[in-house]
């Protein structure tokens, strides 16, 4: 970057205190299998999965228990062997705590793998579509948190003809270190997954972007990548939200993704390093995505660190395994502190996209009273999309959602930089999510009104048709009757004539 560019290019993002250590340096611990697992049917982006098992049915570890439903969906597998105890509602890992459909699995303690799983020794010999197919069968979703079904991304990237595979090792969220840990410990597996993804997408090169505050991960990945041409490791400046798709692609390739478009528009597809590992295990070992590495961190956690937890374990069990909590947390968060969701309580399960569980103390949660906006525009400077959060929030506060929409509300990625820097503690992201949610609800209401209008029109048309048909039948009958009468009359007259 030239000097002129440095002066005239707007800086974006923030440098939050990261709290990544010592959790990132502690060795990974594997959580023992809980007695019961709560497997949400909606733990991926898109339509919820449909149960493929019956209550009371015995399942083996890795056996599919729910089928994808619709074009965007993902399968769900049993994380251990056991019996299906129930299929019903559990509290969703979501701020609202509203119920979500789930399969409840009673572990039998034997943890037996299903025999149906097929390993593959020469995966690069498989057809690209076969890789996508197997990834779909393993229920792999994006591990960075967005949980988009990975197979779909692989196959659509191939169709779109992407040239570059960008691997997201940014992990710019504070507190989280599971990707860092994974790259340090499983670099070989990740690289293998990347090569499989290159094969599946048809991309020519892969760039692994790793923030420069993770030197061990960079070293480990560089070592693992040395033998493979076409895969490069690139350190990138540590800055939040570097791990956001638009920012990462621009930093690594210099290409700007058009608003509302996918990275494929500029020939790029982005995957998380955790996804690469899941892809490798799905293809090489035939193992579906049934557990994940996640960071347990925060001021209230007894022993912060990275833990391998089965999907469906309760948050409270994970916290208890991680040394328990030392004080009542001010906030319980699933995901990172910048974009994660607050949980209403800990009796909600880990899902495939759970990158972290944070029990934050009051100082970390920084819960503060909203004050008046002094228009300092710190938010505008921090916004990576170059929006004007202060003006958008003003419009939303004044119930002028359309005004906020004109200012680019749809382009907001809810990264939280604005609210993080706001000296008035204005919950800007909350304003924006509220506005987006309200607008979406209005859209749905409009669509429904449209649909019901069509139904009503169809009905009145039907009623009219029925009335018409009835009238026609009545008219025909009448005509027939009259014709018969006339015929009889003419017959009679004819008879008279002949007589």
């Amino acid at each position: 970057m030239g000097l002129m560019e440095k002066i005239f290019t707007r800086s974006w993002g923030v440098h939050p205190r990261d709290y990544k250590h010592p959790a990132a340096d502690a060795p990974v611990r594997v959580m023992p299998m809980p007695e019961r697992l709560y497997l949400s049917l909606a733990q991926h982006l898109g339509a919820p999965a449909r149960p493929a098992v019956l209550v009371g049915q015995k399942v083996k570890k890795g056996e599919k228990i729910a089928d994808p439903q619709g074009p965007v969906s993902a399968a769900i597998h049993a994380p251990t062997s056991g019996v299906i105890a129930a299929i019903g509602e559990i509290p969703a890992p979501h701020p609202s705590g509203l119920p979500v459909q789930a399969i409840i699995l009673e572990a039998d303690g034997r943890d037996e793998w299903s025999e149906a799983l097929t390993a593959c020794d020469n995966p690069l010999g498989l057809a690209p579509d076969e890789i996508s197919y197997r990834v779909a069968a393993a229920g792999v979703v994006g591990m960075g948190g967005a949980t988009f079904p990975s197979a779909l991304k692989l196959s659509s990237s191939r169709k779109a003809g992407v040239t570059t595979l960008v691997m997201n090792g940014g992990e710019c969220e504070p507190y989280l270190s599971c990707d860092d840990r994974l790259m340090r410990d499983k670099a070989e597996t990740i690289i293998d997954g990347i090569r499989l993804m290159l094969h599946a997408t048809g991309a020519k090169e892969a760039i692994v972007g790793i923030e420069d505050n993770k030197p061990e991960a960079i070293a480990a990945m560089r070592k693992a990548v040395a033998a493979h041409a076409g895969v490069r490791v690139r350190p990138i400046p540590a800055r939040y939200p570097m791990g956001s798709e638009k920012q990462l692609v621009q930093t690594l390739t210099g290409r700007e993704i058009p608003a509302g478009a996918l990275p494929a528009e500029v020939g790029v597809v982005v995957h998380n390093v955790g996804t690469a590992r899941a892809v490798s295990e799905a293809i090489r070992l035939g193992r579906p995505l049934i557990s994940r590495l996640l960071t347990v961190n925060g001021g209230c956690v007894g022993a912060p660190g990275n833990i391998v937890a089965p999907v469906g374990a309760l948050v409270e069990e994970v916290l208890a395994f991680a040394g328990g909590i030392e004080a009542r947390p001010a906030r319980l968060v699933m995901g990172g502190p910048m974009m994660g969701v607050s949980l209403p309580h800990a009796r909600t399960p880990v899902i495939k996209g759970t990158s972290g569980i944070l029990a934050l103390n009051a100082a970390q949660a920084a819960d503060s009273r909203e004050e008046a906006c002094i228009r300092c525009a710190s938010c505008a400077r921090a916004c990576p999309i170059q929006l004007m959060p202060l003006d958008m929030a003003r419009h939303i506060r004044g119930d002028d959602l359309k005004g906020a929409l004109r200012l680019g509300l749809k382009d907001c990625i809810a990264c939280g930089c604005c609210a993080y820097v706001c000296p008035a503690h204005i919950p800007l992201v909350q304003y924006f999510t509220y506005a987006k949610g309200t607008l979406a609800a209005e859209d749905r209401a409009r669509q429904k009104a449209e649909a019901t209008r069509r139904l009503a029109a169809a009905r009145s048309e039907r009623l009219a048709r029925e009335a018409r048909e009835k009238a026609e039948i009545a008219a025909r009958r009448k005509a027939e009757r009259e014709a018969a009468k006339a015929a009889a009359a003419s017959a009679r007259s004819a008879g008279e004539m002949s007589a």
Binding site: A372, R394, H395, R397, G398, D400
Partner: protein, 194 residues
Amino acid sequence: MSELLLLLISTALVNNVVLIKFLGLCPVMGVSRNLESALGMGMATTFVLTLAAAASWMLEHWLLVPFGLEFLRILTFILVIASVVQFTEMFVKKISPGLYQALGIYLPLITTNCAVLGVSLLNVQQAHGFFWSLAYAFGSAVGFTLVLMIFAGLRERIALSRVPAAFAGAPIAFVAISLLALAFMGFSGLNVQG
């Protein structure tokens, strides 16, 4: 050329019709709720003002003075202005129904915008020539539009502010416009004649 420029500055800023001469306050308060309609109103008024100034100049010099009918001045001027406004109204309705709706009653009310009649009369009073009259009217209209736009911008911002209930609406608008008038006082005595 530079004289014309100075005249424009003088009429638009130093002797602003709205804030210094206090003419045409009604549309300024009425149509300044949002910027688009303020701009539309400004354009419509500019159009009317300039056209009316031209028409009234011709009326004055070719009809009233030759026939010694100066006592009919106000009457005839109002007639001409009303006609021009009617014409403008039709025109706006045709080309921008949205603006027509937004301006509402204030569009026909340009007729009674004292700035229009005032400028026409001032032109006669100060014995301006034809082009000078036009420039004077145009400058005044630009000043009017400027104030209208600035004020609309301020009101759009104030509309989203937490104004105390007692001051919400017209009161705060008056406070704002008086502070705006204070700002314009800085131009007073601006020695633009050289």
